[in-house]
Point group: C2
Chain length 661, copies 2
């Protein structure tokens, strides 16, 4: 099963080798994170950056990516600190620099960090996902052939810039290009922040530390203000838009290729969702087979948590979701790599570009949906797993409270799902045009007047994968068509395109969610065909549980479109009970197939040998053993030994006189 | 509106006075929490304990409780540290000590902390909510007239004990009473932990620090192990079960009164849910009326977040939920106080006890359900509000990431909702017996064969409060009856009572959730009648939004029981859109009516004057201004200046020979 999940024995062995390498390196000690300060965390993380930088220079990109995907489970905050340089900063260079610019920055150490470390200056205090609204300006000065980078207002302060506070020497700054008084949109400029030899701030650059966050304290997010900072004209990345020394601005023919870097980020977040969910479930399932609570008969040992139906209901469907995400992540990855390969080839034959761009758009939309819903799904998995540990889930030593705090930011950055491409697909379907495979269900529903429904009440029919696939297709198509209809209604009421999109935003979000479920299920089913025979029974169970559980959570949709009757929904629920009980028998093996070592799991409650209490106690016992309470003399003793005199004021003459009256 | 929410002008003025008092006291500075260490947080919290202890001695219980409910929003961790002594430890004394025992401990300072500070030793490493399964033993030694308190195994270690690590001198220890070799169940024993004059641990007592948690680091949770610690027989709390010096164990007639303390905890958690939700929404709504994003037309100012329908959908229904919770909390409080009054009177007339106990049981069940679902609801509100701040929600300075981490434990402790009493009510309904008012909807559905449904498709009818009340009653009754049926089916299959309860646990949980929604709605509607006329229109809107939004989130239930048709569900959704847009106009006033000062809100993004960016920047700017990066010389410089020699090994003779061959 492990080989199947990982995508082959070779990849499994490689992953195992990375885990071993990291475990043996004292720098990667992670079980004491709860005890060390923000400053120590930051410093230790930099030491790891230093160490990993050599790997970057010496290993293949693919191998390095695989290693980073293991590291991202072990130490998500490190992953971000390193990723800012290699993914965002270097990614911006790759995507937006001309060949000679790229060569120039490579020579300065832009990849290997020999000479410079980069950060990525997009977001501002007052501006997040709306890049077009950024306020920082880059004004061209033809007299000196320079750009002047400037922060005109407080809200234009670059904000959340990872690596800015402590690490970076250079920043890829997103700013409004202004030439001859005219604005030409947001472009990217490489701005030196610190002198690499002294680490002194460059003139006009002000930087501060964003400080404590909910998680990922490993990365030193900072704010940056520029006061008329001058850079050579050639520091603007000019692969697309170009500015000549005489001030002429040359716009590119196609500006869409910037998609690439964003998609890569999303693809890795889908993988990360699957991987982090694997870790959370390993902890929760292992603990639930050790922890006992309440005995069924007096004198008998208490029952294991995982033998309670309510606990199975909580965890086992999450196991099915994790498999669905893992397979979807693998597919996204493959797809992305193949598009990138074609794109690189396409550089030679210009006429291929358009066709690749079409595919890129579709992948863009699917990856946006998968990113949004898989990160939400994973966050829910972490939280459910954490809650399933009872009170111990609240401890910083059991692994999941920190996992939540680290992961939750995935749900925020890089935005929310896109509906526009789905809307376009609905239009295509109406016109009878061919559809990409993952929205092919639309064709069935757009034109037909008779809606499909589940014809048989037999459990085997209601809960078969064939029925469930049709059911989810029906619900997704319904939601997409509904959103398209609301858009048209809004347009008819006279709203312009943007306003009409806003008016149906809830319906669009809902449609994207339903489409993503259908996509996850369809891909899971397609995987079954290629799966090794001994695994198939289990995989079918997992796929069926994924489909029935998510359907029962959205039962209103299935009832509303008339696919299932209330009785059939009830049958689904019984099927979920049966599947939970069935899969529970193999639950321990299934989490073992995720193949993470105790080092990666990094939770005493999720250890392989089940010796959870001793390990947990050993870890906690390291906290200040029996030292005297530091504030006993100053605070506690005065409290315990104080005396309170009742307040009785002097007797007033006026009261005595009053009495006499 | 403020007076109406708070329950009268007097209470509002009192709350304002508390807020002012705390704001003026430098000890209550809270805006620098993200910057200070665990050790500093602990110490500062103890200083507040010291200060508040005098209040405890000098103010009425009611006034003190009101003050604590303000403090619980400002500093939830402090609230827990103080609450462990006053709520749990002193509560245990009040509930379980005989009058002479209570007098004895009061004389030692058990209330005022003059001489002792208490903690509450219930949970163990291996045992949470199953109190009967606790392993710690209290063995009676008739020779010395003492109990021997002992931790027999690792899993018996007292765990999570708030105040144990740094604060407490005494502990109310829950342990198995063993007399003459026989076990008599879990009882409570007061065990000295530390010498109050030296703070040295008592012989046989070992204590450690549980360390870092997800939140509430203000409280020093600890673990305790007892090795044959001896205490006088009279240190066992003997209001109920008594042990005589000759070893005779006298069991109480009625043991149910221990409910009291638990209910108090739950009631305060429902209040707390409402109060914390008020704070979260104040931050989110104020920020959403300042933050702008994307302009509808070029050159125009960007649109305020709260003017986007999708943002309204996110926040406005949560506003309605908060009102529902606030009113329910007020009612629970009143009910609880009246029962407690009757209970104290009942001590005189024994025949009244049974009747009060009936009411207590019902309150117990309702409070358990409200506690469970209101804490979940509030947690969701915090998280949605946090997400609505975009990236800034991830900062520790904007108030909601910490709020989440502090609040999330409310969802864990003191257990999950009870279904048993609802099941009993279903039985009563079947037999035609009278029902308590809050489950009166059962009577309508149990016996009738024709199910009620919404007869009219007109928007005004589908979305009227009368219809919605009937609809929610129908869904709740359905869920309760379904759970009862599953229980009976399981019994028929031969399962014993406990196993049958387990088998239908998912259905029971679902029934409790549906019942709680119906209860919240019914109470909201009943409040409308007593509301001042000028507020009524707004309150009706809020109640309707609460009902329609929660119905649309559970649309499957309404479709399955045939109350609404799919078209009517669609009408509900349109009604939600309209209500969100309508209530949005008053959103700023509504959060103002929650009446929290900027000090209590403690978030630059939620300040009253809307000057969010300056305040946020000022707060963050306090972080290390321009200090040199501490590890530049040791780590960064060597990284930037290193050189990597390509590895080229010596040329081997064997290869040259090979070439020659």
């Amino acid at each position: 099963m492990t080989y199947f999940i990982d995508g082959g024995k070779e990849l499994t062995l490689e992953k195992e080798s990375f885990m071993l390498e990291l475990e043996r390196d004292p720098l990667w000690k992670i079980d004491d994170y709860p005890n060390i300060s923000l400053a120590e965390i930051r410093e230790r993380t930099m030491a790891k950056v230093r160490r990993l930088a050599d790997d970057l220079a010496n290993s293949s990109k693919e191998k390095f990516t695989h290693k980073m995907s293991v590291i991202s489970v072990i130490d998500p905050g490190f992953w971000t600190r390193f990723g800012v340089h290699i993914g965002l900063f270097f990614g911006a260079l790759q995507g937006q620099a001309t060949p000679s610019q790229l060569a120039y920055w490579l020579g300065k150490g832009a990849l290997t960090m020999q000479g410079m470390i980069g950060c990525f200056g997009m977001t501002e205090l007052g501006h997040g996902s709306n890049v077009a609204g950024l306020e920082t300006t880059a004004t061209f000065d033809p007299d000196t052939d320079e750009f002047v980078i400037h922060t005109p207002t407080l809200t234009a302060t670059k904000w959340w810039i990872g690596g800015a506070a402590h690490t970076a020497t250079h920043c890829a700054v997103y700013a409004q290009l202004i030439v001859g008084g005219r604005r030409h949109g947001v472009k990217t400029f490489i701005v030196p922040l610190r002198d690499p030899t002294t680490f002194q701030l460059m003139p006009g650059v002000n930087i501060g530390d964003i400080g404590k966050k909910m998680g990922r304290d490993q990365i030193d997010n900072g704010w940056i203000q520029f006061t008329n900072v001058r850079i050579p004209r050639s520091y603007m990345l000019m692969k697309h838009t170009k500015v000549k020394s005489d001030g002429e601005v040359i716009k590119p023919a196609l500006d869409q290729l910037a998609y690439g870097a964003l998609i890569q980020g999303r693809v890795s977040m889908v993988s990360d969702s699957a991987n982090v969910a694997k870790r959370a479930l390993t902890i929760a399932v292992r603990y639930a087979t050790v922890r006992r609570q309440f005995s069924s008969e007096p004198g008998q040992p208490e029952t294991k948590l995982l033998d309670y139906p309510i606990h199975q209901h909580r965890l086992i469907p999450l196991l099915a979701q994790t498999f669905a995400m893992a397979f979807a992540a693998r597919e996204m990855n493959t797809k992305y790599l193949s598009i990138m390969k074609r794109l690189n080839r396409a550089k030679l034959a210009d006429n291929e570009v358009a066709s690749v761009l079409e595919d890129l758009k579709e992948t863009h939309a699917t990856s946006a949906g998968l990113k949004a819903f898989c990160t939400w799904m994973c966050l829910n998995i972490i939280d459910q797993c954490r809650q399933s540990l009872g009170g111990h889930g609240y401890s910083a030593y059991t692994g999941l409270s920190t996992a939540y705090q680290d992961f939750v930011v995935h749900c925020t950055w890089e935005g929310t799902p896109l509906m526009d491409p789905l809307h376009a697909m609905a239009e295509r379907a109406k016109k009878g045009l061919p559809l990409p495979e993952n929205v092919s269900y639309l064709a069935l529903f757009v034109k037909s007047t008779r809606r499909p429904s589940c014809k048989s009440d037999a459990k085997g029919d209601v809960c078969s994968l064939t029925t469930l696939k049709e059911a989810w297709g029906c619900v997704a198509a319904n939601a997409i068509i509904q959103a398209a209809r609301e858009f048209e209604d809004a347009s008819k009421r006279g709203l312009d395109k943007d306003a009409a999109y806003e008016a149906c935003s809830a319906a669009r979000l809902h449609a994207a969610r339903m489409h993503t479920f259908a996509h996850l299920l369809n891909h899971f089913i397609s995987i079954l065909e290629t799966s090794p025979a001994p695994l198939r029974t289990m995989l079918v169970r997992l796929a069926t549980l994924f489909a029935t559980h998510s359907a029962s959570q959205h039962s209103g949709e299935f009832l509303a479109c008339g696919y299932y009757t209330p009785e059939q929904i009830y049958t689904l629920k019984q099927c979920i009970n049966d599947l939970c009980a069935e899969i529970r028998k193999d639950a321990v093996n299934l989490v073992a197939s995720f193949n993470y070592t105790d080092f990666v799991i990094n939770s005493p409650l999720g250890c392989y040998d089940g010796n959870v209490y001793e390990r947990y106690f050993d870890l906690v016992r390291r906290n200040n053993p029996q030292k005297p309470v530091p504030y006993f003399e100053s605070l506690i003793k005065p409290l315990l030994t104080r005396s309170i005199e009742p307040v009785v004021g002097p007797k007033l003459e006026i009261d005595e006189q009053g009495e006499e009256d």
